[in-house]
Subunit: 122 residues, 2 copies
Amino acid sequence: MRIGELAARTGASVRSLRYYEEQGLLTAERDSAGRRRYAEAAVARVALIRRGFAASLSSRVIAELLPLLEAACVPRSRALLDAERKRLEAEITAMTEARVRLDEVIAIATDPTWRCDVETGS
Amino acid sequence: MRIGELAARTGASVRSLRYYEEQGLLTAERDSAGRRRYAEAAVARVALIRRGFAASLSSRVIAELLPLLEAACVPRSRALLDAERKRLEAEITAMTEARVRLDEVIAIATDPTWRCDVETGS
DNA sequence: CTAGGAGCTGACATTGATGTGAGGTCCCGG
DNA sequence: CCGGGACCTCACATCAATGTCAGCTCCTAG
């Protein structure tokens, strides 16, 4: 199939599909006019790629992961994904921490005893 | 005081202080040589700015917020901060959702029945 | 034959705080 | 007077997926 059809069938934009290829996540044959031709398998592959993106994986990580999945190399897939999960966890922790800080700012801002005391510090 | 001292006393880098000024968060007098001169109050102001950044506020939002705090305009500060809290909450939710997706990917990757079935879909 | 639709490449924009480096001014101590 | 340190401005790099535009080729239906 051509890129437009693949886009329609996967929900990815044409631009995104070209980007996936650029990042080495997806390959395509070319017809005589230089247009990309995809095998049926591309539909599932794009679905998997998008699943990765939805899981906050970067294209770089997905590029590492896909071959491991194809090789069914569980230990290495596992190691990679565990590391990513740790990163994500850290990000969530950071944002949760930021929320605490934000609540502090809200407390300061709404404190009736607080009067333009920018000069005197927190 | 000059920018180096302010940086030392606040923990912000010289670069960051110039950036805060560029974003309208901090003002400075200039001496005859064009160098920035800060009043004592700048120390507390920078602390407040950094508190905002630690709370995941953007420079744009901090720029909106500071005048409101100075004016002790609680309702508007409150509205702004509540909106930011909602945004942050949404981000946390999104990341938490991504974690669920990641766990799905981990399940797929470690599923012993999964064998290079990229072609057959998820 | 022709208009238009689909594809192609290449490239810039987005978002944002900070690092970094170049190239220049200025001031002070030795 | 000179070296060096502190400061200045300007500007590019970072990270990443996607949108969007320009300018082009190619195929096909009418």
